[in-house]
């Protein structure tokens, strides 16, 4: 009797289920539905300010270099805007992939930001402040990022396996520890007196080439972006075609069956978190030694948290994540331009970004409800129940 309200499968729900299609189609149709909802919500907010939502959304695209702006400052063009957006997109993709790998094993890596910070900090002090030439420094930065992030991830997985500490709790607490220890180290040893941030890393170690002069423009070239698509494909391959991926997925879907099949569940959880952490490490170095060249003490980047929503919006699928990362980055990058063009306060632009993230997480909720409704439809053993109104099913 406890599930009474869900038992009445209404015709409206059925029609809705039909539109969303079968499971395969749902993986695309549900995120699209979530995006649609978020655009609608954003449009309402913009309308409340008495502005035209269509121009506002176009200015999002203009601000991130997808559409041309009416005019550009010297040495700027659509290309420079686009590259700048891609610069911001790179860490987001890695971070969302990190969340996805853990999620497949049934683990929730909410510590991506902390892992990014550790990777970025260690890479900065070891390679970033050295005099190594770019050809050595850049690969080294990536490797340090992978290793440091992976080590933190593995630690969280090990804590879960060895002491049964929930990974969410461990991640959040470690986030705090890293945030404050690293800010202490920066303020004590590496602070730049002018910017109050850590000393900037050498240009050779920075993964983004800054202010490159070409075609009469001055642009930033995010080299690490070249790695994002191969990494996404690699993660896809890992999950779908390798023995490790098969084991991780079984552990994620049914831990008892995994144990029964002879899989070392603890080892799988540690491996999964290590891989997730390593990807977060890549996100960290591409953020702190790419998009930025320094670390602001006592601040945990929001990329690691936004990436959770991005991952869910992309259906935790590596290819889906490429698209969802793009969408979210376009919006957050375009929000500056939108606010100045539309004369909407910057904060409101942030609210709209937040709304979109909110609704993208709601995609997971929609999916959950849909699968629940579906299960009820296909459940051979139906559930008992009596809703307060007997004619509840006749509406719509």
């Amino acid at each position: 009797m406890n599930k009474e309200r869900e038992t009445a499968v209404k015709p409206l729900t059925r029609g809705f289920l039909k539109i969303l299609g079968d499971e395969k189609r749902q993986s695309i149709s549900i995120p699209l539905f979530a995006i649609l909802l978020s655009i609608l919500a954003g449009a309402i907010v913009i309308l409340l300010f008495g502005k035209n939502p269509i121009t506002a959304f176009l200015s999002f695209l203009q601000g991130s270099g997808i559409l041309p702006k009416p005019d550009y400052a010297a040495k700027k063009s659509m290309l420079t805007d686009l590259l700048s957006m891609i610069n911001m997109l790179t860490p987001m993709i890695f971070a969302a992939l990190a969340v996805a790998v853990a999620l497949k094993t049934g683990l929730f890596n909410i510590g991506v930001s902390g892992q990014m910070l550790v990777a970025g900090f260690v890479a900065s002090v070891t390679v970033g402040y050295s005099a190594l030439p770019a050809a050595i420094a850049m690969p080294l930065v990536l490797i340090v990022g992978l290793v440091c992030g992976g080590a933190v991830g593995a630690l969280i997985g090990w804590l879960k396996h060895r002491f049964n500490i929930n990974e969410v709790v461990a991640s959040i607490m470690l986030n705090y520890i890293f945030q404050y220890v690293i800010s202490f180290l920066i303020n004590t040893y590496y602070v730049n007196q002018v910017s109050r941030q850590s000393q900037p890393v050498s240009a050779a170690a920075r993964l983004t080439l800054v202010d490159v002069q070409a075609f009469g423009l001055k642009m930033d070239i995010p080299l690490a972006f070249l790695l994002t698509i191969p990494t996404a494909l690699l993660v896809l391959f890992l999950l779908n075609r390798t023995r490790l991926g098969y084991e991780l997925k079984i552990v994620g879907l049914n831990r008892r069956a995994a144990k029964y099949a002879g899989i070392n569940v603890g080892k799988s959880m540690v491996s999964s978190m290590a891989i997730s952490g390593a990807l977060a490490g890549l996100a960290g170095v591409t953020l702190y030694l790419g998009y930025y060249n320094s670390i602001q003490p006592r601040v945990l980047t929001s990329v690691g948290f936004d990436s959770i929503a991005v991952c869910l919006l992309g259906n935790s699928h590596p290819i889906g994540i490429l698209f969802s990362s793009l969408l979210i980055t376009v919006i957050s990058k375009g929000s500056n331009y939108m606010s100045s063009m539309m004369n909407i306060p910057q904060e409101i632009a942030q609210v709209i970004t937040g709304l979109i993230l909110l609704f993208s997480a709601c995609g997971a909720y929609i999916k959950y409800r849909v699968s629940q409704a579906r299960e009820e439809l296909s459940d051979v053993k139906p559930k008992t129940g009596k809703a307060s109104k007997a004619e509840g099913g006749d509406k719509a």
């Binding site: 499968v9 069956a257 139906p382 008992t384």
Partner: protein, 510 residues
């Protein structure tokens, strides 16, 4: 025509790839016990789901008390005074019996004349009266988590009666009960009929139908094959109609040819997660070519013995020897490779990954070996070939072949998949825990034949079952467990079912 309280005319219901009900017509008289008999997947539950408003039929019509109705939801069905007891109970564990029964229809009152509250005291009284009236005595203030399965079932029945249901549907009500509890339930069902209720009983157990039902409709692969007067029909005739072929009730068991001792358990003790000793110092051995069956009432440590042998539960004392090798401290994977196959009790939560395809599940124990995996990369062709091979050899049926997600397969075919996989491992020791639970006669017969075939091939077999008939029919040696102890081990031919039953109750403690 108005003597019929329920009429379902020319009902057809299709699901993707399958016709669950094909032009089925039944009519139930007021005040009778009407049984629906059929194998798993024959369409019994689907038919009743439509009566209870879970699905709507694609074709055909439903008449309740002579009036044509469209039942759109269980709520609607309840309003038409139709009630249903599901095979898996729908109760809130940490609520009391009363709270569960009134849930959704709580009698309101005002606390201090102001705050809305639920009149629990009044409800307790009402439930208590209701339970006495129908001989379903329960203590309304007890929590669900503290009461046993048969009492929970009573709560489900009371829930229907509280809602004043006139048409009561029971879905496989005896699947979870012991023989004594079954008799008691059948009495209750009779009692309910005598007080004027109409009962529809879904089951695949023939004896129950013979005992209580007035009439019986038999479904086979979605089609109605006959409606008969139970008193005038033999059990055998019903079974043949249900399966669609001749069924042999007796098993052809070859004389045993025992080989060398394969499994040796000595002084085994197992503690559960709460630190309680659930298996106490038991010893036994199994030879190749022998079926060793452990009988016992559910929850007396039998499954823990199996889990300890497989390595799924840690051993707190004693040794497990397989083929002369001490395997007590090996991992599950190492034991699998050493030659143990395990058909677990919980096929959906342990034996299968429900969201994986059939092919992926069939390779669950061997995926890491060649040809399935080369240098850490899975070979999908090998998965497909192996899946197709097993699906054909063991007649595993599914909507979309080996690409079917196992969740959507019927229980019988899920079990076939597990058994196919475990037999094909070629292990010397095979552990079957409750291999036929919830399956229909055809599937049970098939599994029994496979178990005997494995024994004749010289495998050592450990069979753990709650079905006494199954144990008596298959075992060469019977051990009875009671409260974590092995009370008696004896050759099967020296024990009668009655004696085993006594040991199971702990009566004949040694």
């Amino acid at each position: 025509m108005d003597e019929y309280i329920v009429e379902m005319r020319h009902i057809t219901k299709r699901f993707p790839g399958i016709v669950a009900n094909d032009d089925v017509s039944i009519a139930v008289k007021k005040g009778e016990i009407f049984a629906l008999l059929g194998e798993n997947g024959a369409g019994k539950s689907t038919l009743m789901s439509m009566l209870f408003g879970m699905y709507e039929p694609d074709e055909g019509e439903i008449l309740i008390r002579g009036e044509k109705v469209h039942i759109t939801s269980p709520a609607h069905a309840t309003a038409l005074s139709i009630g249903m007891v599901h095979q898996h109970f729908k109760l809130v564990e940490n609520y009391t019996i009363t709270e569960n029964i009134v849930l959704g229809q709580e009698p309101p009152k005002r606390f201090l004349g102001l705050l809305p509250a639920v009149d629990i005291k009044g409800s307790n009284k009402k439930i208590s009266e209701l339970s006495k009236r129908y001989g379903l005595e329960v203590d309304p203030t007890k929590k669900i988590e503290d009461i046993n399965v048969s009492t929970r079932q009573r709560v489900e029945i009371l829930k229907m009666l509280y809602r004043e249901a006139e048409i009561l549907i029971f879905d496989e009500p005896t699947a979870v009960l012991t023989p004594q509890e079954i008799d008691f339930l059948l009495d209750i069902i009779r009692e309910l009929r005598n007080s004027g209720k109409t009962i529809i009983l879904i089951t695949h157990k023939l004896e129950e139908i013979k005992k209580v039902a007035d009439r019986c409709a038999i479904l086979c692969r979605g089609k109605l094959v006959g409606v008969m007067d139970v008193a005038a029909t033999s059990t055998k005739a019903m079974a043949n109609l249900m399966v669609g072929r001749e069924v042999s009730f007796t098993l052809d068991k070859n004389p045993a040819k025992f080989g060398a001792e394969l499994l040796n358990i000595s002084n085994l003790s197992v503690k559960n997660q709460d630190g309680l000793t659930v298996v106490k110092n038991i010893s036994f051995s199994i030879r190749s070519g022998e079926i060793f069956a452990i009988a016992g009432v559910s929850g007396n440590g039998q499954t823990e013995v199996a889990d300890a042998i497989m390595g799924l539960m840690p051993v707190s004392g004693g040794t497990v020897m397989l083929g002369g090798k001490n395997i007590t401290n090996l991992s599950v994977r190492e034991r699998t490779l050493a030659g143990i196959s395990y058909i677990p009790e919980d096929r959906q939560e342990v034996g299968l990954v429900l969201d994986f395809t059939l092919a992926d599940n069939l390779a669950l124990k061997e995926y890491f070996k060649e040809p399935f995996c080369k240098n850490g990369v899975l070979q999908s062709e090998a998965f497909d070939d192996y899946g197709n091979k097993l699906a054909e050899e063991y007649d595993i049926r599914s909507g979309q072949g080996i690409k079917t997600v196992v969740r959507s397969m019927s229980g019988g075919n899920q079990q076939k998949a597990i058994i196919a996989r475990e037999i094909d491992l070629g292990s010397g020791l095979m552990i079957f825990v409750q291999p036929t639970r919830g399956l229909d006669i055809g599937a049970i017969e098939n599994i029994h034949r496979q178990i005997l075939a494995q024994r004749d091939e010289g495998k050592a077999i450990l069979l753990i079952s709650l079905e006494l008939d199954e144990i008596i029919g298959l075992a060469d040696t019977i051990g009875v467990m009671y409260s974590g102890e092995m009370l008696n081990i004896a050759p099967a031919e020296t024990l009668s079912a009655h004696q085993v039953g006594e040991y199971m109750m702990g009566v004949k403690a040694v």
